[in-house]
């Protein structure tokens, strides 16, 4: 049972959920890099320009974190989420540069109810994140676990 807007039943196969725009600034990119990924191309404009990323570019894990936050704000926080067992694929296709504005979407690929825990379901999704030029920055497929709104009903 859940009082959230999004339960397992709401993630119909083929459904597309938009992730609202999010602009990233240099300060938050550098703050993350200083703690978790202090490579010069993530810390310094000049080093970024000299690298194959072509500018002050986010750590891939910062990009993943922003991605996660966008999903949280779009639907996960108002869902019956029980976490995720993992990520099948995450590709960094274009650098995320300071000042970029990201938008994204989540597409439901498949789902099934757990055989061992009937009140829980697995939802497999594909996520895409684009910059303001419409370029694909990052793509990811993963599985989320969600409580059913009506355990026992045909889902």
């Amino acid at each position: 049972m859940t009082d959230k807007t999004w339960a397992y039943e709401d993630f119909e196969v083929g459904k597309v959920i938009d992730l609202p725009p999010r602009t990233v600034d240099a300060a938050e990119m550098v703050e993350f890099a200083a703690e978790f990924d202090p490579q010069p191309m993530h810390l310094d404009e000049e080093a970024g320009k000299a690298s194959i990323l072509g500018g002050l570019a986010a750590s891939g894990l910062f990009t993943a974190g922003i991605f996660m936050r966008m999903m949280c704000d779009a639907y996960l926080l108002d869902s019956s989420s029980q976490g995720s067992p993992g990520v099948d694929m995450l590709n960094f296709r274009k650098p995320l540069l300071a000042g970029d504005t990201l938008t994204g979407r989540t597409t439901v690929l498949s789902r099934r109810v757990s055989s061992s825990r009937p009140g829980l379901g697995f939802v497999s999704v594909r996520h895409e994140l684009f910059n303001q030029h419409g370029e694909l920055v990052c793509e990811m497929t993963n599985t989320g676990m969600f409580l059913l709104r009506n355990p026992g009903a045909a889902a």
Binding site: D37, G65, R69, G83
Partner: protein, 155 residues
């Protein structure tokens, strides 16, 4: 063999150990993954996890923190077998599995192992190196495992 040696192919490198504190778990979650089981002890008790646990993105970001700290030693090691390698950005992550929750107070050891490499036709002198990375509990239980594809300059 020299290139394999420079890239430490097949060698498990222990990157370091980290004890996850409640405050850092909450601080990371507040920014990137504000699901309640990562923010609030009481909410975590009521969740499938039973106790406050780190966002999986916090765990993998902390792996990166120790990986980055180990880079100078890995570069220095490569020099013993010829020209020093240079780290570039990651192209992607595969089969990221959060096998067990990382709870407050858990001490986790991080490792990496380069498995293989291939030349990049588009970037002479650079190779794509595939690595398998792990996070282990003190009893050796793997709590997180994932593969990465990282660009490395080998000359």
């Amino acid at each position: 063999m020299s290139l394999d040696q420079r890239l430490a192919i097949g060698e498990t490198i222990v990157l370091g150990s980290h004890t996850f504190g409640a405050e850092e778990i909450k601080a990371f979650a507040a920014k990137f993954d504000p699901q309640r089981f990562h923010l609030d002890e009481e909410a975590a008790k009521a969740s499938v996890f039973g106790r406050l646990c780190a966002s999986g993105w916090h765990t993998i970001s902390t792996w990166m923190k120790y990986n980055a700290a180990a880079m100078p030693a890995i570069i220095e090691r490569s020099r013993a077998f010829g020209e020093a390698i240079e780290f570039g950005p990651a192209a992607g992550i595969r089969d990221l599995k959060w096998l067990k929750p990382v709870y407050v107070g858990d001490t986790i050891t991080f490792t990496r192992k380069a498995l293989g490499h291939r030349p990049l036709a588009s970037r002479p002198g650079w190779r794509m190196v595939t690595m398998e990375n792990e996070a282990l509990a003190p009893d050796g239980t793997v709590v997180m495992r994932f593969s990465t594809m990282v660009l490395m300059k080998t000359g």
